[in-house]
């Protein structure tokens, strides 16, 4: 956290939704280099909004977003930032808009200036890395929910970002796909921030947790000692949860 120029840094970010008097986010200060962070909090507390501010989709009322120490001031700045950050939407249907999987995964690399051949190769490699080799010619709209999520992840990974922002990636996934996603995320080199309500998922993929409490971003304590009821055997013996 004390690195001179972290990959992404937020300084005194304030944001209020249009038409609302009270701010949604206040004095958010945060930075990330190579960590794997989980973000947890109740619905409507501003988690997704925070992601949108980082990506430049929303403009903060006050404060700034810095990429490797440089403040992002205009569209051009955020265009550079978006090459390095990948944002996985909550709803994969919004993210997949090309007819076939291969075309969708190649969309990013083509925009970044790759030739069609290079884009094709990058996309094939990305899909193969996620175990989706046979998906290239599939129609994006006909994929199942879990498949859509993995393909949406592929569309972002094909741009080789340095940081992933994942918005509730484990939502509506069956246990098997969820495990597969955990495996994939653990195997990736990139840093990531994951929004989720699924504590077990976060525990398996993140090194520490943040939450938004009363409009402020707060780092959660590493361990909380408390007592709780058990419905599984050996609940009275010392044991670990969720990993």
């Amino acid at each position: 956290m004390t690195t001179p120029s972290p990959l992404i840094e937020l300084r005194n970010i304030n944001y209020s939704c249009p038409g609302q008097n009270s701010p949604l986010l206040e004095e958010i200060n945060f930075s990330i280099c190579e960590e794997r962070i989980g973000l947890i909090g109740p619905n409507g507390c501003g988690k997704t909004t925070l992601f949108q501010i980082i990506m430049g989709l929303l403009t903060a009322d006050r404060g700034e977003v810095l990429l490797e120490g440089v403040a992002m001031k205009d569209k051009k700045g955020f265009r550079i930032l978006r090459r390095k950050l990948g944002f996985l939407f909550q709803n994969s249907d919004d993210q997949l808009f090309s007819p076939t999987v291969l075309e969708d995964v190649a969309f990013g690399p083509l925009n970044l200036g790759s030739s069609p051949e290079e884009a094709r190769e990058i996309s094939s490699r990305t899909l193969e890395g996620l175990g989706l080799k046979d998906f290239e010619e599939r129609i994006t709209h006909r994929l199942s929910g879990g498949e859509k999520k993995l393909v949406a992840l592929a569309t972002i990974l094909s741009m080789q970002p340095k940081l992933l922002l994942l918005d509730e990636p484990s939502n509506n996934l069956d246990p098997e796909t969820r495990e597969r996603l955990i495996g994939i995320l653990r195997g990736l080199d990139q840093a990531h921030i994951i929004i989720s309500h699924d504590l077990d998922f976060l525990a398996s993929t993140c090194s520490h947790l943040y939450t938004i409490e009363k409009r402020h971003l707060v780092r959660c304590k590493e361990k909380q000692i408390h007592s709780h009821d058990h419905i599984h055997p050996y609940g009275n013996k010392p044991h670990q949860h969720g990993t």
Binding site: M55, F87, E103, N111, P116, I139, H141
Partner: protein, 250 residues
């Protein structure tokens, strides 16, 4: 998803670049639509039927499309001979049939089916995506080609959204009737579909911008025109020219 059953295939016509199919499709359509000569319409219909047979379409699908289009011509056949009037009227059973009416109905049928065959042979053998990119390369404004590509991809999604809302209404006991309540409910459904589509459009645009979209869609497949494409275009243009010139030779 809007199906593209005719675009699947590997025949000579399927392998042609969309551009060399769009140009003759437009020309043939214009010739057939504007002609008043039986010979041109009839020859055109036969020629486009031959062209269509080259793309080896599935007979069942072909029949379905043929019937859909010819429902309209059927109505013309039911009305024109009885209402067209003109000098030559021949009694048929107890009805007075106008010969001019039958002529016009035949001409329209030939034109309609000629254009149908032409579209099925030339345009339906390309995917909408390649047609969109082809049109853009032929100089169509980019916004229009975006509109085509995105309508094709999103229309189905919007329809699904509408069906979901309709289902939700039905599950809460909504039965359409001729009442103000029904009209109000439908206007809400349409309104909500519109709002949802708008929101979705915004999210899709965000997703595109986040992946570096810069107002240009770069197609993954960038087909190069080969000699066969040029040859095909030349041949078919020549045939179209001869077709259009028929009335002048007589």
């Amino acid at each position: 998803m809007i199906e593209e059953p005719f675009a699947r295939g590997t025949t000579f016509l399927h392998r042609r670049d969309a551009r060399v199919k769009i140009i003759p499709a437009v020309i043939i359509t214009l010739i057939l639509a504007l002609t008043s000569s039986f010979l041109v319409a009839g020859t055109g219909c036969v020629l486009t039927a031959i062209l269509l047979s080259l793309s080896r379409p599935s007979p069942r699908l072909l029949l379905k499309r043929f019937c859909t289009v010819n429902i309209f011509t059927l109505f013309l056949w039911l009305t024109l001979p009885l209402t067209y009037g003109g000098d030559k009227v021949s009694p048929f059973l107890f009805l007075n049939m106008s010969l001019d009416g039958i002529r016009v109905a035949t001409l329209i049928s030939l034109k309609t089916n000629g254009i149908l065959f032409c579209f099925l042979a030339l345009l339906a053998t390309s995917t909408v995506a390649s047609l969109g990119h082809g049109l853009e390369k032929l100089g169509m404004p980019r916004k229009l080609s975006f509109l085509l590509l995105f309508s094709y991809r999103q229309l189905f999604v919007i329809h699904q959204e509408y069906l979901r809302l309709q289902r939700a209404a039905r599950l809460r006991g909504f039965i359409p009737a001729n009442s103000l309540h029904t009209y109000r409910t439908y206007s809400h459904l349409f309104g909500m579909t519109l709002v949802k589509s708008w929101n979705r459009a915004e999210r899709v645009h965000q997703a595109m911008v986040l992946r570096g979209f810069n107002d240009t869609l770069i197609p993954l497949n960038q087909p190069q025109l080969c000699r066969k494409d040029y040859l095909f275009l030349l041949t078919i243009l020549l045939i179209s020219f001869l077709l259009a010139a028929i009335p002048f030779f007589r």
